[in-house]
Amino acid sequence: MAAQVAVQRGPFHLTRSQRSTLVRALAMATYVLVMVFPFYWMFITAFKQNSDLYELKHNPLIFNDWPTLAHLEYLFGKTLFLTWMWNSLVIGVCVVAITLLAAVPAGYALARLNLPGAQQLGIAIFATYLIPPTLLFIPLTRVVHALGLANTIWSLVIVLPTISIPFGTWLLMGFFKNVSKEIEEAALVDGASRSQAVFRVVLPISKAGLAATGMFAFAISLQAFLYPLVFTSSTNVKPVTLGVVTDLIRGDIFYWGELMAGALIAGLPVAILFNFLLNDFVEGITGGALK
């Protein structure tokens, strides 16, 4: 019916709901453009020939010359990009391991053992998540130095869990609270010891929480910038986020093609990984009251 009316009035007369759909679509398109444009810009820069990139008469939004893999070749062949990726991977995996080793027992004990003061202790641990690196990096340079870890990837392996343990403990407390007590007690009655009950019943049920905590720790370690900046200085010990933005700039010369290629290759996997965590993260900080 509505369509017929619109046709009778001509193509530019829209019904009220069509108009609101149109406005909404336009607003949405604007948002998408602004949000996504930098990624498009990274992409097109990464594959443009320098002659195209630095020619002011060219339309910068399209390939005016043939695309090229030269920047990628330079990035992989003539810089330590693969080393930085490897460093990031090692740091990430270690941070995940340390985080889970500390946060799982803490989260379990605080959520399920009816310890006096458990809630307050949980909040106190979570509160440290809110003490930002800005307040800590200056004294931490001395601590890292004293531990003999200055300018090694192990400085980051040791320091980055300070961000992921508090948040992970908090997340896991939420997950463990949701495991019904009866299931665990049923296992205990069946003759399982407390630790058997935990390993065979509670942890498998909470595996979504464990996965979220682990991925969060990994994402955090890849997102970090200030700690890598102050703790690592040699090219071969940098994680990828730091290596890309510091070592592809020589004096005043920015290797834009390589910079954008590196940013894209290092950034997209992290972005996609973090995307899976979004709901858990939002739930974690808003108190899990919304489901």
């Binding site: 998408v32 930098p38 990624f39 909040i123 899990g288």
Partner: protein, 310 residues
């Protein structure tokens, strides 16, 4: 043995075993929390205390330094760059926070409901928040380039501007660029959080308000604001804590320039404390943030505790 005694003794034994077992269990429980506790105390609590101590001394990279009282805190207030940094930190936080609230509520409303391609759109929308900030900032540095700025190119070609500004080399363009990147990054997070709040409002409540003849704005104020306000508030406090202490955008985009004009407290602390080697003074600059952060932290923990029903 007297039967009566045995009967009397039995429960006593059981009771003390039970107490002992309870204590043991509690002890084991606290032991489980210990690794996390030690970690947090050792690498957050201790450095925080050490930083407080440094701020009261003239420690440098080269020397241990002596106690100087509040000298560092007094000295930096007479420092022109420090004042600029405080001003910029406040300006960036206030403007970007206002922009973030408005834009993320708007985006959340756009995303509300089902429509084709919603899943893909959501993934695209959150990209700015999920990509490491250092990497997106370097892309923006290229987009704001003094010669090859694509933003200026687009502006000129759609007839919006004659010739764009030298974004990162002049004021106020440079600080606008910093605020833009900071906002661009945080809007998805705000939108997702608000969306979680909006999805929790039963459709009937909104429908009922509509039937009562409430206009769109009345409905927004009376029905929707009270429901999303608390959750938006928490998201806001979090974001403020990180915006106030954030330095990646400034460090990579403008380097604090032109001539310290976009320096923020965190980047200035880095410049003095690490690059300049004056640990004491750098710590003092950073610690000026502590009172505000404490207030924000207490406020967010309170509202989280309230939501958790503690």
């Amino acid at each position: 043995m007297d039967a009566g005694l045995v009967v009397a003794a039995q429960p006593r034994v059981a009771l003390s075993t039970r107490v002992r077992r309870g204590t043991l269990r509690r002890l084991a429980g606290y032991l489980l929390v210990l690794p996390a506790g030690i970690y947090v105390l050792g690498l957050v609590g201790f450095p925080l205390a050490l930083g407080l101590w440094y701020s009261l001394t003239n420690t440098t990279v080269a020397s241990t330094g002596a106690f100087v009282g509040l000298q560092n805190f007094a000295d930096v207030t007479r420092d022109v760059t420090f004042r600029l940094a405080v001003r910029n930190t406040v300006v960036i936080a206030v403007i970007s926070t206002a922009a973030k609230i408005t834009l993320s509520v708007a985006l959340a409303f756009l995303m509300l409901g089902a429509f084709p391609g919603r899943g893909i759109l959501r993934t695209l929308f959150v990209l700015p928040w999920t990509i490491p900030i250092a990497l997106s900032t370097i892309a923006y540095k290229w987009m704001f380039h003094s010669q090859y700025s694509v933003i200026n190119w687009i502006g000129v070609h759609i007839g919006l501007i004659d010739k764009g500004p030298n974004w990162l080399g002049t004021m106020p363009a440079a600080i606008i660029a910093v605020i833009f990147v900071s906002t661009w990054r945080a809007v998805p997070f705000g939108a997702i959080t608000v969306l979680a709040g909006l999805t929790a409002i039963p459709g009937e409540i909104i429908e009922a308000a509509r039937i009562d003849g409430a206009s769109w704005w009345q409905r927004f104020q009376a029905v929707i604001v009270p429901i999303i306000a608390p959750i938006l508030f928490i998201a806001l406090l979090f974001d403020l804590i990180f915006t106030l202490t954030e330095l990646t955008v400034v460090y990579l985009l403008t380097g604090g320039g032109p001539v310290d004009q976009t320096q923020v407290m965190a980047s200035y602390a880095l410049q003095i404390g690490v690059q300049g080697g004056a640990l004491g003074q750098g710590a003092a600059v950073a610690l000026y943030l502590l009172p505000v952060l404490l207030i924000l932290t207490i406020m967010s923990l309170r509202s989280i505790a309230k939501r958790e029903g503690l």
